[in-house]
Symmetry: C2
Subunit: 121 residues, 2 copies
């Protein structure tokens, strides 16, 4: 149950098994709303997830369960849905499980400095 890096580097049209990312509720950078992102980050559990992603190399994939949030499985899923719909995370289907990836480059381009604030926290 360890985290495999998998080297999922989104270079150009890198698509694993998920041809259309937007169909799963991922907003494009233009669709991202700052207030929605701020609200997503204002929750302690979600903030912690993003902060932890920021301490790891770019492109790191992690399962929702690997964060071991002190909440139930369904609540964890809810929080990841909020972050996904805000544009913070991208969910990648891996068959058996799904992993989350911080949309770092897109967020840095859309909201410059925001992730830096979180990483400095």
């Amino acid at each position: 149950m360890q985290v495999e890096p998998m080297e999922n580097l989104r270079s150009g049209c890198d698509e694993r098994r998920n041809p259309v990312p937007d169909e799963e509720g991922h907003p494009t950078p233009e669709e991202m709303d700052l207030r929605t992102v701020l609200h997503a980050l204002s929750d302690p559990h979600r903030y912690r997830v993003i902060a932890r992603f920021l301490r790891e190399p770019d492109g790191t994939e992690r399962t929702c369960a690997s964060f071991q949030l002190p909440v139930s499985k369904s609540t964890t899923s809810h929080h990841f849905k909020v972050m996904r719909e805000a544009g913070l995370l991208r969910m990648v289907d891996h068959g058996n499980s799904r992993t989350a990836v911080l949309r770092r480059a897109e967020l840095d381009a859309r909201f410059p400095g925001l992730l830096d604030l979180v990483s400095k926290g």
Copy 2:
């Protein structure tokens, strides 16, 4: 009975810079918490107030009522209290009324880039 007679600090009505931040519940930059600030900004009304401040010259003072938020007087006061306690605004006593000032320089130093995001919004 419920109102503590805090010492009256205004020796001059046109006193702009308040040298003592903590007396009225203003956090120091070190006391500011990013999550608290993000939560304060995630509300549409509060976001609008900050965004409007950012369109005006630095140091601009405005009364709470001047924003004409589509909410009641007590709700407006509540929102300004949230922003004040988060560190976004500084309330300045002017005897008859009070004005709010965006703590721009302090926020820029404490959370670099945050206000820029709001102004680009």
